[in-house]
Symmetry: C2
Subunit: 196 residues, 2 copies
DNA sequence: AGCGGAATCTTGCCATTGTAAAGTTTGAGC
DNA sequence: GCTCAAACTTTACAATGGCAAGATTCCGCT
């Protein structure tokens, strides 16, 4: 017995969108599909998100918060030494991308995100800051170090969820995918300590 | 005086597609837009590419060949020592992404590419092999080194063309974008020689 | 030369999508 | 209880991808 007014349609639409994202992929995530999944009329989302970009932006903002949470969680189960912390952050970054590939794609490669949204840019900045500023308490942080870290894990995550890594691996000797990922993350950590 | 048969419509459509890509962005690249740009009816592309995926796949395949060419060109103007070669490859990789962002996006983040296409997978493999196998004449190549190289430059290129790097830079001290890119690529090269 | 088939291109059509506008129902405050 | 704004639905329209059927031109064969 659903009343005319849903009550919490905004949250329901975000939930429905993520269901679609996981089940059918990012290409199937449309305004109308989200409305169908939530059981409302196809124009209902407009009232809460304005347009498709608004829905995707809200979804991405929530995604960045969970993304940050994933890194935070890995960090919590790591020791205090800098190498272990970096490795944990890298695992969190890549692990999130593998666990939620659709959401990760939406967050990073959607042309329809509205980066002028406060919620989105704040959430994204907070997530990136975890990775780029950890261990750089001496202000200001070295941007080269920050971007090197970020580029490496981001490239690894991206190539992974696009299947390019697996595609290439089939032509090389039979290391396991997990081993390869850990290997790259190890080099990521090692590279940090080579120069101050 | 255009005859009923275009003669080389396939090539013309690819050319038109790239014009649209550069001028209006990847979102505006549709089958019908390409047909309009080439001055033919909206269903003409079907005969040459089957569907939209076919057009994008052909375009991406050509893109990967030019991508490889860009790296090759940089390599040609670099010295013989390993560090200079790697730096040149990194510059070629990132430079191509910055010069042709639309095409780069299409090549790496389009969900509609048909990777079972011989032309596409061969062209992509050839491009990646340049970066991942250079200096690894001792077979088989170390996959960890290969993927570390690839991840770093790919992540850097991706973050760059998405504007995330510039967005972050505005919050840090005023290094120039070029300096930052060169700095990351330098670390990329240095990291190579840290372990054998 | 000319004929027939095949490749090329066009026209017309349909389902889906995003978005705007107008109408309907509900609930909150007075 | 009334009013009104918010939430939601219905209707409508342009654009897209894709399919089918028809028109036009080219090529190979005799």
């Amino acid at each position: 017995m659903r009343s005319y007014h849903h009550g919490s349609l905004r949250a329901a639409l975000l939930q429905a969108s993520e269901t679609i994202l996981d089940r059918d992929g990012i290409a199937a995530l449309t305004l109308r599909a989200a409305a169908r999944e939530a059981g409302v009329s196809h124009a209902a989302p407009t009232h809460h998100f304005g347009d498709l970009g608004g829905l995707l932006t809200a979804l991405a903002a929530a995604g960045f918060e969970r993304f940050r949470g994933a890194m935070q969680a890995e960090l919590g189960s790591a020791g205090p030494e800098q190498g272990a912390r970096l490795l944990a952050l890298g695992r969190g970054y890549v692990g999130f991308a593998r666990a939620c590939p659709g959401l990760f794609q939406l967050m990073f490669r959607s042309e329809r995100l509205d980066w002028s949204s406060e919620a989105l840019s704040k959430a994204a900045d907070a997530a990136f800051a975890m990775l780029t500023q950890d261990g750089q308490a001496g202000h200001p942080p070295d941007m080269v170090i920050a971007m090197t870290r970020w580029s490496l894990v981001h490239g690894l995550a991206t190539l992974l969820i696009d299947g390019r890594l697996e595609a290439t691996m089939q032509k090389g000797p039979g290391r396991s995918l997990e081993t390869l990922i850990e290997g790259v993350l190890s080099r990521f950590v090692q590279g940090e300590f080579q120069t101050t």
